[in-house]
């Protein structure tokens, strides 16, 4: 058991729904996990699984209304849903910061990149404008951009360069937690590698904890220590990288792996998961994955599975593990 001091983020029973006029969208359903300093958690799942909503709720950035958040989010021991709104501005950007998905749209087009980085220092370190600009120049250098470009505007930068600026903003005040929401999805492949490389380097320098949201298992394998697989707003499997990749438990996780082309056997056909994710306004009563699951039995459609430990670090939400000897195909013979 790790020292409690080292726990950066503790999420307990986080539930987020969006109330619309004719339905309630259940974006995140009762998820809990903790994250230690220096560790990277990969949050994996397909579009609409609730990954981004989970991330936004850690910063208390889910718009309320229509959003409705319940549960506890403890950041460095403090429940951010209990702090005053004015204190929130001191936490955001300082204790936790976020890299957003699309670097093309997250930089403010009417301010220079220098100013946008410097703003972090002005807010959190109460620097003078001049001092903040100097620090912003250092940040640019850190992410591999010439400090001469400090006074340029976002439209003068390429996509990969913009994402570097976004990273500089996120890391400016040495946050203890960084949430990266698909930081490479909007970039082309060569740039993706550069940005990932950069993030890994920067992370190694600090004791920062990180949540890496992605649907790319390759990225997870490269950068994460722990993995949580989300499906329809729930965590269905969680464990160390080894646990989830080598001793895959959940049928959905297995489906994700089967959807990746195997470069060693190009003849092999992909086995995509049949069907679609259930409508989040109308989740089935039992396991949300049951309608698409090859292993589903009658009981799966009735009983809601909860995360059950299957080793010290590994947990899975699948009722079939109550049957002795049950294994998904991928883990047979492991």
């Amino acid at each position: 058991m790790e020292n409690k001091q080292d726990t950066v983020l503790q999420i307990e029973h986080l539930t987020v729904c969006y109330e619309t006029e004719d339905a309630t969208v259940q974006a995140v359903n009762d998820i809990s996990f903790t994250l230690q300093a220096g560790k990277t958690l990969g949050l994996v799942g397909e579009t609409g699984a609730g990954k981004t909503t989970t991330a936004l709720s850690v910063l208390r950035l889910v718009p309320e209304p229509p959003g409705n958040v319940s549960g506890r989010v403890l950041l460095n021991g403090r429940d951010i849903y209990q702090v005053k709104k004015s204190d929130l501005d001191q936490i955001r950007g300082k204790e936790v910061s976020m890299i957003f998905q699309d670097p093309m749209t997250v930089l403010n087009p009417v301010f220079t990149v220098g100013k946008q980085i410097a703003e972090c220092f002005e807010i959190h370190e109460h620097c003078s404008k001049h001092e903040a600009m100097e620090k912003a120049a250092q940040m640019l250098k850190l992410v591999g951009i010439s400090p001469e470009r400090l006074h340029e505007y976002p439209h003068q930068f390429s996509g990969g360069m913009k994402q570097r600026v976004v990273i500089a903003i996120a890391l400016a005040c040495n946050p203890s937690l960084l949430i990266a929401d698909e930081p490479t999805t909007a970039l082309d492949v060569t740039i993706q590698a550069q940005v990932l490389q950069l993030m890994r380097q920067l992370k190694e320098k600090s004791q920062m904890a990180m949540i890496m949201i992605t649907h790319d298992l390759g990225i997870v394998a490269e950068i994460c220590d722990q993995v949580a697989v989300m499906y329809a707003g729930r965590i269905v499997e969680m464990g160390t990288l080894e646990d989830v990749f080598r001793r895959t438990k959940h049928p959905y996780t297995e489906g994700l792996f089967h959807s990746i082309p195997n470069i060693f056997n190009r003849q092999e056909e992909l086995k995509p998961i049949p069907g679609r994710m259930p409508n989040p306004t109308d989740l089935p009563p039992g396991c949300a994955f049951a309608p698409r699951c090859a292993y589903a039995v009658e009981q799966c459609r009735k009983q809601l599975p909860t995360l059950q430990p299957c080793s010290e670090s590994h947990r899975v939400a699948c009722i079939r593990y109550a049957e002795p000897g049950f294994r998904v195909e991928r883990s047979r013979g492991v």
Binding site: K85, R92, G93, V106, N108, E119, Y153
Partner: protein
Amino acid sequence: MYRYVVKRLLMLLLVILGVSFLIYAIMDLAPGDPVWQILGEDATQEEYEAMRAELGFDRPLIIRYGDYMWGLLHGDLGYSYKYSMDVMELYLSRLPATLLLALSATIVSTLISLPLGIYAALRQGSWQDNVTAEFSVLGLATPNFWVGLMLIIIFSLHLGWFHSGGFTSWQDVILPAITVGTGHTALTTRTTRSSMIDVIRQDYLMLARAKGVSEKKVIRRHALKNALIPIITATGIQFTGSLGGSVITESVFSWPGVGRLVVDAIKSQDIDTVTGSIIMTAMITSIILLIVDLLYAFVDPRIKAQYNK
């Protein structure tokens, strides 16, 4: 930027050429005869012919126009026989009052519509938003002269706070400015609202919040500057609109502005005054629209980059 300005100024010459010819031709086609207006009904035919020749009306339209443009090139807008003075001098004597009214009306309208529009945008769909919308429609639907008259009745007649008309002291601009300004609030409030609604959904505001920027600053600094372009456009158009003279308001308040000058000149067929004033107004309007376009560059660096191309 420099080249852009020069290009725009050259286009301004074309505008002036077009406007002046149009006005000149229309005034020529208009019913009534300026010569009779000057001489009065009792003049003899000989006197009429003599005056007509003296004023140059016996020459063809195109020659007279050319003559007028030659004068314009030398800064001569013609001579007003009604006021017996140089049109340029006459126009410039009226311009300050009009500029003052246009400027203060714009200030009034901005002070009301900017906060109102932002407020409505932040509470989109709420009852407060609907009230603002109704208020805007009301402002749009209420005739200016009625607002002016009501202001006079309340603040001049009953309360005695202001003069009911004329321009003798600085306070005199307040009531006309409110009259013209409230007429403008409807459009600028709606423009501010819709422009802000576009902007508050943008991702970069989310990033600003994630950085720890306070909500107040997110709106005032990060959002407003991005929403400003349509607001500047609407304000610019209304400002130039009131430069042509808020004729009705100027009449209600006996305001000595350009609008009333032109209307009086049209009534008395004072061709040179009409033509000269309208050319001047067209010129000033074009220049202000150019300034508005240049303002864009200061608000949005992407537009500046385009101008520099």
